[in-house]
Amino acid sequence: MSASGSLWLIPALPLLGAAINLLIGKRLGRSAGILATALVVASFVVSVAVVGSLLALGAEERIHTQHLFEWIRVGGFSVGADLRLDALSAVMILVVTGIGSLIHLYAIGYMHGDPRYGRFFAYLNLFVSFMLVLVLGENLLLLYVGWEGVGLCSYLLIGFWFEKTENANAAKKAFVTTRIGDTAMMIGLALLVLRFGTLDFSVIFGSAAGTLTKGAATTIALLLFAGAVGKSAQVPLHVWLPDAMAGPTPVSALIHAATMVTAGVYLVLRMHVIFEISGVALTVVAITGLVTMLFAGTCAFGQDDIKRVLAYSTVSQLGYMFMAAGMRAYSIALFMLVAHAFYKALMFLGAGSVMHGMHEETDMKRMGGLIRKMPVTGVTFIVGALALAGVFPLSGFFAKDEILEVASSTGRPWMYVLGTVGALVSALYMGRLVFLTFFGRARSEEAEHAHESSLVMTIPLIVLAVGAAVAGILDTSTDGLISRFVEPVVGSVPEGAAGIARSAVVTISLSLAVVGLFVTWVVYASGKIDWLALRVRMQPAQRVLEHGWYVDNYYSALLVTPGKAAAAWLAYVFDAKVVDGVVNGIGAAVRALARSGRRLQTGLVRTYALAFLAGAICLLVYVGFRL
């Protein structure tokens, strides 16, 4: 089979797994997980083969498309189920299937003994399938199908342990919050259809420059970006992601760190043509990213729940990606996406391993000294944390460094300064997480008796740690491997005004990372400072950060409570009085009319006959006059 002819297999294999596990997952028992993992691995193998054949082509011809069938035809508008593999989607499918395989493998161990084991893997496979449709779709409608599909799977998996009300609520919150963005995105798609008459990428990219005015491009780009903001948990729609940690940890790693939340970044990269025509939209993207990055970084510093630290950290890192995309450094955003997928999936899985060893404890205040009990988890986690904090030569260093380098040359110095501050903040929260969890003395019974997880869980950790460590070679500069690979699709990183020298950028960010880690070591692990006492003294600030600047409370007061009140008024007042009033009123009027009308029915046949006669005479008179 030719390379482009087997594109469909990539999303179809996990879909098959989902179907099998949904139908007979219960009977499969433990092999449900093995089957699901095998199918994702198979999908990964096909992906590697297809991307390999893509690499054999010349740089400008690297695109495979496959037409499966015509999906919708209404008048002149038609949408085909077409798949498209170019450099951008090639990187995405490798991340999704590659990291997805490892997380599936890990989940075999992590979900062992769960009563809904088969169903878990069915959802996980379904998610991978939708995610692949999202990145492989050749038109925006197919992308949207994947987009909503992964949203559905996210909902199902966040609420996987729905017996606990808070889990079900978290799932609902995630779904509703992202819905806000999705609705805007749908309007954006409608506007695109209006302008182009199609949603095919090839047509839109080919004719966008001549078709769209600056204003129209801004409107469409911002509507699409609203979808990305919801999906990628950017301010102001970030509130769902920390709560989404209610789901099983492999879900957090796969959906809420490595893949689904990066779909928004993918969308911006994919549609960058329209964002560039607008210009304003790119600035909005960059500033949203910057604000989110700083905001979520501070929140991450205030969390005690290990998974919530990682969740806010993910929001913050996604902010970096959008910042890069907003500065037209698309290839760097993509590189950061890949590097982040490695080290954040690694850390989530590591956190899951810690929770496993600690009887599902997530409070870092009750951990400490775990590196002695769980050496593999601890070491791999530290690799991930150092990568995130931007320590040379791990992958996060190169990604963050390139973003700051571009920021320094955009002619907006404040962007560079704030980006660097963000680097310090991420070193601080990462240091706090690592030192609280793995160093110092054990602060609870569970921490003293923690145990290392089984091989099926530690092997993915080791593989991901190696990836997080060496992924930097993929893009060591703004002209690195990934940048050159995706250049035909997203263009090269713009040469800005001469900024600060690269060596200076590197030195500053690296020394800040080291300072941040050192400070947290002094506070949390050196034993010289009583951090619990410090914490009590800083109580108000700590509370604000822990509650994420109380954004949830503002939303609750400004939107949710009035919304609920409005719904209650509609249900109990408007519906009962007005809607029911109209219906009952019509009924009463008909009954009153009937009460007077029934007197005509005398039951006497001869009266009726007389009425006939009268009618006939009237008719005759009428006809007579007409003639």
Binding site: G603, L604, R606
Partner: protein, 101 residues
């Protein structure tokens, strides 16, 4: 010489009027029924008369048609009267007033 059409029409009107009055004033269902037949035949007479006047067979055909329909109607009508009688032991139409509103 042909009989003028007016003769037929006058006779027909008289028959129809008798039938109409019969339907309206009599109470016995059978008599009312006979009165209806009288009305029908008055109309048939008109049809045939006009048919002759126009030298066309259409009217006569229509008269036959209405006779056939009347025959069928008699069957149904008498069946109804018999059923009503069985139920209320009377053929007085004023006694059949179950439908009064």
């Amino acid at each position: 010489m042909r009989t003028p059409i007016a003769y037929f029409l006058v006779l027909s009107s008289i028959l129809f009027a008798i039938g109409t009055v019969g339907v309206l004033v009599r109470k016995n269902a059978l008599i009312i029924f006979m009165s209806v037949e009288l009305q029908l035949n008055a109309v048939n007479l008109t049809l045939v008369a006009f048919s002759r006047m126009h030298n066309s067979l259409d009217g006569q055909v229509l008269a036959f048609f209405s006779m056939v329909v009347a025959a069928a109607e008699v069957v149904v009508g008498l069946a109804i009267i018999v059923s009503v009688y069985r139920r209320i032991r009377s053929v007085n139409v004023d006694d059949a007033e179950a439908l009064r509103g």
